[in-house]
């Protein structure tokens, strides 16, 4: 857990002097940052887990009400996501990268293994969701709600594809690097527009990022559409881009490259998680960002430029989302079309990932895995048709995601009850149960 400026603590029993949900005599309206600070102190991992369980339970009720068996459905999703791979132990071998040596391994990494294939797909989505989740989380730590992850993701996709489908004579390393850098920078610039508008004119970042999302949506529809500059050069009636050239494709380290194996972008996402943690908790920049997030006025009084931090935080957020876009293109999708622009939602899901993960690196990683498993587990490629129609299952995913968001909101209630529990208990009971408020 990160430390807050001013040395807060993680213990519910000793609340700081200004408790956000206490009996505040003035009209109290917490800012995003204050609310976040409060979440971080309270409940630890308990509330996110309760939140997720609640959401799955409610989703199960809908499944039950429409005449399907929720237990079987969730089992089917679990199997479909490939997470059952971890539970099949045995005597297998693995090749040491770069050599022909085989060593003993307790899991079956073979390409023919169906569960392994499903897991690769889940981890591909995890890669994207970690990054789009970080895009929301980083801005959140600065007190900004970045709803524009989807637009920044699309900008990353567009610029990544632009570089990735051109320059066929470039060597592999520089080509990949160039595409990744350009796409991340463009994503960062796209997001920084919102940060800049907030810093200069106070325009609310939620409004501006929503508008930027839709502008990116129509730009994408134009570029990949019929006659658009990025449309493919072979079939003029197909509104899809060219395929990424071989020199720009990311190396696949697990699975079959032709059938969407797991690419090294997965490690880039893990690296981004570490960078996220490091920047926020071990650098001056991160300290300033968090200080602005907790209380912009206090930060300004302390000599921190709030405006500069708004722009920087949005830019870093956009960089994460742009990175997600380009890795998807160079890693396994290789092309993008108008239909993809219209149906892609990975940027939006980042909101749920970040909020369920409480905007922490570890939390984002875990909730990205959860949502990726849910997404792939309910896709038409993986779920058992006899258990639940994939169209229904896909909508179930949306519902669960929505319920997670709603319960993240209702968190305040859960935490408040948690905190008031001791006060509500009769005095005698409170004395005999001194640890009642701790979790």
């Amino acid at each position: 857990m990160s430390s807050e400026p001013g040395g807060g603590n993680g213990d519910l029993d000793t609340p700081p002097p200004s408790e956000p949900l206490g009996a505040d005599p003035t009209a109290y309206a917490p800012s995003v940052g204050e609310r976040l600070a409060f979440y971080e102190r309270a409940g630890g991992i308990v509330t996110p887990v309760i939140t997720a369980v609640f959401a799955f339970f409610m989703g199960g009720l809908v499944v039950l009400a429409t005449g399907h068996n929720p237990w079987k459905v969730y089992q089917g999703i679990f199997t479909g996501s490939g997470l059952n791979w971890f539970f099949h132990f045995g005597n297998f071998s693995i090749t040491i990268p770069g050599t022909d040596h085989h060593v003993w391994f307790w899991w079956n990494t073979s390409i023919q293994n169906n569960a392994a294939y499903n897991l690769q797909q889940t981890l591909l989505l995890t890669t994207t969701l970690i990054l789009t989740g970080l895009a929301v989380a980083f801005a959140f730590r600065c007190g900004l709600f970045n709803i524009g992850g989807q637009g920044q993701y699309l900008i990353g996709v567009i610029t990544g594809l632009w570089i990735g489908t051109s320059l066929p004579h470039l060597a592999r390393g520089p080509h990949i690097l160039l595409a990744i850098v350009v796409a991340s920078v463009c994503g960062a610039v796209w997001a920084a527009i919102a940060g800049l508008l907030k810093a200069l004119t106070g325009a609310h970042e939620v409004i501006t990022t929503i508008m930027l999302n839709w502008i990116a949506y129509w730009i994408g529809s134009y570029l990949f559409g019929q006659g658009g500059p990025l449309q493919n050069s072979t079939n003029a009636s197909l509104p899809v881009s060219n395929t990424v050239v071989d020199s720009a494709k990311l190396p696949v380290f697990w699975g079959n490259p032709v059938l969407q194996g797991l690419h090294i972008g997965f490690f880039i996402a893990i690296g981004a998680l570490v960078a996220f943690w490091f920047v926020l908790n071990r650098t001056t920049l991160g300290y300033e960002v968090r200080a602005v997030g907790f209380n912009p006025e206090a930060a300004r009084y302390g000599g921190i430029s709030v405006a500069r931090n708004y722009v920087v935080a949005m830019a870093i957020s956009g960089g994460f989302a742009g990175l997600a876009g380009v890795l998807d293109m160079l890693g396994y999708q290789y092309r993008f079309g108008v239909l993809d622009v219209q149906t892609s939602q990975l940027g939006f899901i980042g909101i749920a990932v970040a909020l369920l993960g409480r905007n922490k690196a570890v939390g984002v990683a875990l909730s990205a895995l959860l949502f990726a498993a849910l997404l792939y587990g309910t896709s038409s490629r993986s779920i058992d048709q006899t258990v639940l129609k994939p169209e229904l299952a896909g909508n179930l995913t949306l519902m669960i995601q929505a319920l997670v968001l709603l319960f993240v909101g209702a968190d305040v209630l859960i935490i408040a009850v948690w905190r008031w529990r001791r006060r509500l208990l009769p005095g005698r009971l409170r004395r005999t149960q001194p640890a009642a408020g701790a979790d």
Binding site: T26, L212, W218, G228, A352, N395, M399, L403, L406, G409
Partner: protein, 391 residues
């Protein structure tokens, strides 16, 4: 020469001149020389600049923008072939399409106005609209009557809004999170039940639809006759909603209460207004209105439903609300402008091809400019987005 005019009048004149610059090059006048638009556009810019220097910022900049845009578009129009021009700029279909596209946006924007004026940000308009669209079809199909379909839409939109209201008023959750949740929830719930109920066949083609009002008496009047003579009942309902909501919001004690709760809830509470009650009522009303917009799309305009059929119209409604400065007629004007840009982008698809879709981004670009304060700032109600805590 300008001595007799106030800066405001000058700016308004500039806006008119800017529009005229464009109109000169269009049918039925169709001036073919590029200096005709410039002749009207340059004075418009001048009038705008003069108004800005005299302190009338918002209107002044609008006049400058109108002058530049009008001249540019006018010159562009003089360079296109007149057959293309005649196809794209045929006013009757353009205006009819504009009203049809603007209707759902207006419902959403007015709904959003009630919610935001009471201090609750409603990002969930899109979801409430989608809910309305689906349940209108379901109601109209299963109960066999379009009026009952509308009723179902009202109830469903109200329930979706009630969830948003409860989470953001009583639980004091972040209203943006809750609104986003509503959007996803609507997408999931309508998609799930659409597949469950209609499955592979889709919605039957014979569902009862909201009727069209045929005013044969005015058919003879040019332009007005063909445009207003055969409008859907829901479009007339929009006009009614617009007037009623203006009167309620700015001419009645109820409106005063809603606005006071949105500007300064503590003060409103002190004089005995129940902040929670007003906010609940306003949010639920906003959900119902947004749902009507969705119902117009499904059982009024298209006569069917498919997954995610609102496709961002709720967000354009939100944009119209902001662009219109949280006022009913402002929002309606913005909705008309956005509806017109959509209608134009469809007409432009013939000569321009795919590039015409860029016109669909215009509402968002304009709103971005409006919130950035370049042409006078759009200022939200003071307490919007802030949960209120009773004492």
């Amino acid at each position: 020469m300008w001595r007799g005019l106030t800066p405001r009048e000058t700016a308004s004149l500039g806006i008119v001149l800017g529009c005229l610059a464009f109109l000169l090059a269009l049918p039925p006048i169709t001036a073919r020389a590029p200096w005709w638009p410039a002749l009207a556009g340059i004075p418009a810019v001048g009038a705008g600049i003069w108004a800005v220097t005299s302190g009338v910022k918002r209107l002044g900049w609008l006049a400058v923008a109108a002058g530049i845009l009008g001249t540019a578009l006018g010159v562009l129009a003089t360079n296109t072939s007149s057959s293309n021009l005649d196809y794209v700029v045929s006013w009757t279909p353009l205006f009819t399409a504009m009203l049809a596209f603007a209707t759902p946006l207006t419902f959403a924007a007015i709904g959003g106005m009630f919610s935001e004026r009471s201090g609750v940000v409603n990002i969930g308009l899109e979801g409430m609209m989608l809910t309305g669209a689906f349940f209108a079809v379901l109601g109209a199909d299963k109960l066999g009557n379009w009026a009952l379909g509308l009723l179902c839409a009202l109830i469903a939109g109200g329930v979706a809004a009630l969830i948003h209201a409860f989470v953001s008023i009583h639980l004091r959750a972040d209203q943006i999170v809750s609104g986003t949740a509503i959007n996803f929830l609507a997408l999931g719930v309508t998609g799930y039940f659409f597949i469950q109920v209609y499955g592979d066949q889709g919605v039957p083609g014979s569902i009862p639809r909201v009727p069209t009002v045929n005013l044969n008496a005015i058919d003879g009047i040019p332009l007005i006759g063909p445009v207003f003579g055969h409008l859907n009942l829901m479009i007339w309902l929009t006009f009614l909603t617009l007037i009623v909501s203006y009167v309620v919001m700015f001419r009645t004690p109820i409106g005063l209460r809603i606005r006071s709760v949105g500007e300064h809830p503590r003060a409103a509470d002190t004089v005995g207004i129940s902040v929670y009650k007003i906010r609940y009522a306003a949010v639920i009303l906003s959900g119902m209105l947004a749902a009507l917009g969705g119902a117009y799309l499904s059982i009024g305009f298209v006569g069917s439903f498919n997954e995610n059929m609102t496709a961002g119209r709720g967000f354009i409604g939100l944009a119209a609300l902001i662009f219109g400065n949280w006022r009913p007629f402002g929002a309606f004007a913005a909705a008309l402008l956005f509806g017109f840009s959509t209608a134009l982008s469809f007409r432009l698809a013939q000569p321009w091809g795919n590039a015409a879709v860029l016109f669909q981004a215009l509402p968002y670009v304009l709103t971005l400019i409006a919130v950035a304060g370049v042409i006078g700032r759009s200022i939200p109600p003071a307490a919007s987005g802030r949960p209120y805590r009773k004492q």
